[in-house]
């Protein structure tokens, strides 16, 4: 069987370590899928959803706020600061973050509001909420 080794690592723990058939990543310049014998690549990825197919042909989903992936000789390493399974998402917390970010963005005149950061927070919150509600 054409399988690859995958490790998904955050600073706090090893989130996932297993063999997979494929993995789709929301890459910075476009989503892409990694299959067996993929060329060596280092790519950053954005806020979004990672979907992988494990060796039992089951889909596993992760929600991430961006990170980096390295593929080499069918070994895949995914590094991300936050990555969660859809069922792990704290909807309340995400909704709160969404409200907070929206509030910040609505008062653009104020100097102490970091627009970029608020936008990123907004994106993260939306991403979390979007995927938390429809587990596969």
């Amino acid at each position: 069987m054409k399988i690859m080794n995958l490790e998904i690592i955050t600073p706090e723990k090893l989130v996932y370590k297993s063999q997979v058939i494929s993995i789709s990543i929301p890459g910075t310049i476009g989503s892409f899928q990694v299959l067996f014998d993929h060329a060596p690549i280092i790519s950053s990825f954005e806020i979004g959803r990672i979907v992988l197919v494990d060796r039992n042909n089951l889909k596993v989903e992760f929600i991430t706020s961006g990170g980096i992936i390295k593929v080499e000789k069918n070994n895949i390493i995914v590094l991300a600061e936050t990555i969660e399974k859809p069922e792990e998402i704290d909807i309340k917390l995400a909704e709160e973050a969404l409200r907070e970010a929206k509030k910040k963005l609505s008062i653009l005149e104020r100097e102490d509001v970091d627009v970029d950061r608020a936008e990123i927070a907004l994106k993260k919150a939306i991403n979390r909420l979007k995927h938390s509600r429809k587990p596969i």
Binding site: T10, I42, S44, K70, L79
Partner: protein
Amino acid sequence: MPSLKDIKNRISGVKNTQQITKAMKMVSVARLRKLQQHILSFKNYFNNLKFILSEISTLNSVSGNIYFDERDTKNILFIIVTSDRGLCGSFNLNLFRYLENEIIPEYRNYFDSENVSFICIGRKGYEYLRKNKFKIERNYLHLFVELKYDISIKLSKIISESYQKLKYDKVYIIYNEFLSTAKSTVRCKQFLPLKISDCTQGDKNLCEKYILEPDTRSLIQSLTPKYLSSEIWQVLIDSYASELSARMLAMDMATENTKEIIRLLSSEYNKKRQDSITREILEIVSGANALIND
């Protein structure tokens, strides 16, 4: 002369202390064990991140990057990591001594012209710096109560932002490096600018080996903040581990010490008790003798 009752009281007092020190030791052991798992899994992340960064960054690709470029040093920022609470032996003291004996002489000019600022993590360091009237930019207390990675993201953002605004030209971190449960040393680590030698593998062209998306420069751009946060995290967990192991050792020694004190006190107590018994018997005997003689 303390009476028998006084000694008894002291013994029970010392016993109480012994229970506390024992409990504190156990708590430190448990926390350290939990932390060691964190350290282990973080190492995995950190090494991979470092490896990727070193794979993609060459001397050429990092030039012009604000995090890598050396510039004339006018202002220095020191981040000192200490504990919030005491009872951990010479953990904090070692760091202060290092600061006094190594750092201040080395950067004397900057200290004299007041171009040095501090960020304190931990209450002990804050108290020390305030007492010695250093310039404290920020201080963070009780970070270690609930150690979350978010903290280091936040911290590194704050620091790198003021670094970008040219508020500081060099940033160092002074902390206790965790070597083993019995050993830790004080270290001063350069945080910014990033040392190219740490992160690159010289000039060899690795870009051909990997497809890089989007491109080298933007990759480095997005990787460096992550690398900086992980550096801070590394320092935080290292320092916390050293603190816990220092406390463990200190409390172990204290427990041993109380054992010794209890031993001495009980032998004194026994001697005294024997004394008073002997004296009582003597009194009775001499009283009886006096009666017989009458």
